[in-house]
């Protein structure tokens, strides 16, 4: 049985001011195996974030259902950790208290909370920053804290919505390595949304390509590159071949979106 089953999930947004409704996502199915690292890549407007938000329980599907370990999800919960593209650390809490947020909500003893938080902060390389406030951290450090905060809850699946989208290229590369090393060590089930093809291939065991308007899954490509992966793999012939293939798939979709936008005015 798969860890996460997305079963015929669609999302239609009602029309704005009497306009026609927008179909953001056609009925979509996807099975995620335990310990899998799946990236979802596609042009903007392909519904990849909508799909992730439905899995998180932050949005409701118009049809279909999401099963986690066989039981349907409808509301957000601590069993699905989420990292957002925007910086969502609580600015009034220190780095450590941010990581403790979910644990405290569950009534874990304070000493145990700090123990867990410090362990995860060490894993994301933030030892010594426990008492800093988020505004004192760089963007990369804030997202590392957000990852530690989600993982401290020990979720069944980690959902990431373009978590490195706002970072500069160098930082983004380092963050990818950090998250990949974390996954290689912890073997969490991960669903990672991005629009960056190179990022999608580097991280994933499977890349799911989505097409736009309406959003649907267009291709599901296994990434047979060996683990542990180092950043040098990005220049290997196998990586380049995969990148060329996925780039072509997404280019066709991006072209459709652009020409559609031109025709539609």
């Amino acid at each position: 049985m798969s860890k996460l089953a997305i079963d015929g999930v669609s999302r239609v947004f009602p029309g704005v001011r009497g306009g026609p409704p927008t179909e953001a996502l056609t009925p979509t199915s996807l099975a995620v195996a335990d310990n899998d690292f799946i990236t979802i890549v596609g042009p903007s407007g392909c519904g990849k974030s909508t799909l992730l938000r439905i899995v998180a329980g932050l949005d409701q599907p118009s049809s279909g259902r999401v099963l986690l370990d066989g039981s349907p999800v409808s509301t957000p919960g601590a069993d699905r950790g989420m990292v957002f593209q925007s910086y969502t650390l609580f600015p009034w809490l220190t780095v450590r208290d941010n990581v403790c947020f979910g644990l405290r909500e569950r009534g874990v003893a304070p000493a145990r909370q700090n123990e867990i938080a410090d362990r995860w902060l060490a894993k994301v390389g933030l030892e010594g920053f426990e008492h800093h406030y988020p505004k004192m951290l760089s963007g990369g450090m804030q997202q590392r804290t957000a990852i530690a905060r989600a993982l401290a809850n020990d979720p069944k699946i980690l959902l990431l919505d373009e978590p490195f989208g706002a970072l500069d290229n160098q930082t983004r590369g380092l963050m990818q390595e950090m998250l990949l090393a974390l996954w290689e060590a912890e073997r969490k089930t991960v669903l990672f949304v991005t629009h960056d093809i190179e990022e999608a291939i580097f991280m994933a065991s499977r890349v799911v390509v989505m097409s736009a308007r309406p959003g649907r899954i267009k291709a599901d490509v296994a990434v047979p590159l060996p683990h542990p992966r180092s950043y040098t793999i990005k220049t290997s012939p196998e990586f380049s071949a995969l990148k060329a293939r996925l780039t072509e798939e997404i280019r066709v979709e991006a072209l459709k979106v652009e020409s559609g936008a031109l025709v539609g005015g």
Binding site: R80, M82, F90, G102, E105, R106
Partner: protein, 257 residues
């Protein structure tokens, strides 16, 4: 001058003081120079002399104390009821839909217009003064707090939900701390307005207080005392505002301000 370029600390203080000096100089020129009759406007030295006699002979310190008590009493009463109601309205949309139209209406009712009614209901004692300030502050606090809480960043609320927070956790651990600095700033602003209401309340039906002293001085055409009373209010306002600002900065070190 280049737009939006900040000035250094010392220069900022010097510029701020410079205008006070300029203001007093213009006042002195108008009064000592004989441009304005003493009947209408006392000169700065006369004002200081009158101020001294107010404290030394007429027990003005007691008036000042009474007025400060009334302002803070009415203000704290308004905050004690207004802040919780504002939070409830900002957090829960049905509560907002229930109260918001009435509060928006009540906010435009001038507090001073209630004075005759309040004298009828509560007499000319302390309760009437407190109620004037309460009416003037309460509705403002409710609306501004509701807007602040309602404007909490949605992505922080969503992050808290994905971390396992329930509705109560969202209010207590996201909405409240997120809105706290802006609520404190709202209270600072409204305290300033409370000072204008207390003087109006004391102009009618009071036997003590700064406003009462000003009415008495008007009957005696003592413009020196009137101006001194106004200056005292300004100084107290400045001091309390400064203290409020410092407290906010100490309480919310994580906030941008």
């Amino acid at each position: 001058m280049t737009p939006l370029v900040p000035v250094s600390g010392t220069r900022k203080v010097a510029l701020g003081l410079a205008f006070f000096v300029l203001f007093v100089l213009a006042w002195s020129a108008a009064t000592f120079g004989g441009l304005v009759s003493k009947t209408f406007l006392a000169d700065p030295l006369t004002m200081l002399r009158e101020g001294w006699s107010l404290f030394a002979q007429f027990g003005f310190a007691k008036d000042v104390g009474i007025t400060i008590w009334r302002v803070f009493g009415g203000f704290i009463l308004a905050a004690a009821f207004g802040v919780p109601l504002g939070i409830a309205m900002g957090a829960y949309k049905p509560v907002e839909a229930f109260f918001e139209p009435f509060v928006s209406f009540a906010r435009y009712l001038p507090a001073s217009a209630f004075i005759p009614l309040l004298i009828l209901w509560a007499g000319i004692g302390e309760m009437q003064k407190l109620l004037v300030i309460f009416i003037g502050s309460f509705f403002q606090i409710v609306l501004m707090v509701a807007v602040t809480v309602g404007a909490t960043r949605r992505d922080l609320v969503e992050a808290a939900y994905t971390l396992g927070a329930n509705a109560r956790g969202i209010v207590r651990r996201v909405l409240l701390p997120s809105a706290a600095p802006a609520i404190a700033e709202t209270l600072r602003l409204v305290l300033g307005w409370a000072w204008t209401y207390v003087i109006v309340a004391e102009l009618i039906g009071a036997s003590e207080g700064i406003g009462h002293m000003i009415t008495d001085s008007q009957a005696l055409l003592n413009t020196g005392q009137i101006i001194f009373g106004i200056v005292v209010i300004g100084v107290i306002g400045l001091v309390s505002d400064f203290a409020f600002k410092r407290a906010n900065r100490a309480l919310f070190p994580w906030s941008a301000a």
